[in-house]
């Protein structure tokens, strides 16, 4: 099923929302946001790319899984409360089932040496993917000389000192956000 026509405002019903977000949830590995964009903007044309960027703004501003937040926003926009429930459900239902199936397999066969060594290899790769992600996020930072020290402080507090995350985040946000606020005022 492909959207035809050039207007942006195709109004999806609940079923379309569920199915659209299901396809997004099932197509991405290690983050599905790019797939969400492709589905919403290019394939179904439920939003223009400017609309997508604005709405994504709040989704990324607030904590929590960004793409779930995005599903809530898109669902609400087209079908109110019901849409805001159905869209994230569609996003999660398929992957949820797959992950539980894998968990069942793990519970049954996870202790076998062959599974253990396979998972050890995947964990090493997964660890590398995380370092790469941190690197990519780090190089995308603005004003590195000012803000990278806060990254270092966060790593020291969380990975080395093992301080609890909520207090570290609140303190970090006050300091780093405070500096940002001050810098914004000087421009």
């Amino acid at each position: 099923m492909t959207a035809t026509g050039t207007e942006n405002q195709n109004r999806p019903d609940l079923r379309a929302l569920f199915l659209g977000f299901s396809s997004v949830g099932l197509s991405g590995f290690g983050g599905v946001l790019p797939f969400a964009r492709r589905m919403l903007v290019e394939e179904k044309r439920w939003m223009s790319s400017e609309e997508f960027n604005t709405q994504l703004g709040l989704c990324q501003f607030l904590p929590g899984p960004n793409v779930i937040n995005l599903a809530v926003v898109v669902g609400k926009r087209y079908q109110g409360v019901a849409g805001a429930i159905v869209a994230p459900l569609g996003l999660l239902a398929g992957p949820f089932a797959i992950v539980l199936l894998l968990a069942l397999l793990y519970d049954r066969y996870g202790s076998l040496p062959i599974a253990q060594s396979m998972l050890r290899g995947i964990a090493a790769v997964g660890c590398g993917l995380l370092f790469a992600m941190a690197w990519r996020m780090g190089t995308a930072l603005k004003d590195k000389s000012v803000f990278l020290p806060f990254t270092v402080l966060t790593v020291a507090a969380i990975a080395w000192l093992r301080w609890p995350l909520p207090s570290v985040m609140i303190a970090g946000l006050l300091l780093s956000g405070g500096v940002a606020y001050w810098k914004l005022g000087r421009k």
């Binding site: 992957p95 402080l153 790593v155």
Partner: protein, 173 residues
């Protein structure tokens, strides 16, 4: 309180500081689940992260796996819901007002200020996985190769997972 209830309480609390998504929460989930409550051991925690990497879907599903291992189906549902629900409700209530405060000085300051912290959290998550997986020198080589290849090429992450699984199976890492 039941295990699932406790999971819900702990993870709902964490969802409020999940800047950078569920990935950024790995160190804190490890603390809650492995260190504080001893619900899982280091090896299982690492394995669950590996399984989540190999499965399709949003990153948040590592939480589902943890919930499952701690308290079965109810635990999986509780943990997933706890991670998604609070912010979903908040965003539902706030989205219509977003236009009016987006671009304000305090809003920009928070966005700018939170970014370096999120980088630190993801980096900490990587060191944590490395530590709890107890990587040997060959595995560290694989980690390094993955970082370089992932940054330099556009290869789909699944290829990396497959290579990792194969090297593991051959007993090389």
């Amino acid at each position: 309180m039941s295990l699932a209830g406790e999971l819900f309480r702990e993870f709902a609390l964490l969802s409020f500081v999940a800047f950078g998504g569920a990935t950024a929460l790995l160190p804190e989930m490890h603390r809650v689940v492995v260190e504080n409550h001893h619900w899982l051991d280091d090896t299982t925690f690492t394995h669950l992260y590996a399984i989540a990497q190999a499965a399709p879907g949003p990153n948040v599903l590592v939480v589902t796996l943890i919930g499952w291992e701690v308290a079965g189906l109810l635990g999986a549902l509780a943990a997933t819901l706890a991670m998604c629900l609070p912010m979903s409700v908040l965003i539902y209530l706030l989205i219509d007002r977003w236009e009016s405060f987006s671009g304000k000085r305090w809003q920009k300051a928070i966005s700018l200020g939170v970014a370096p912290l999120a980088v630190g959290l993801v980096f900490s998550g990587a060191t944590l996985i490395a530590k709890s997986a107890g990587l040997g020198w060959a595995a560290w080589l694989l980690v390094g190769a993955t970082v370089v290849a992932n940054l330099r090429t556009k290869l789909h992450p699944l290829w990396f997972i497959a290579v990792g699984a194969a090297l593991g199976l051959l007993g090389l890492v």
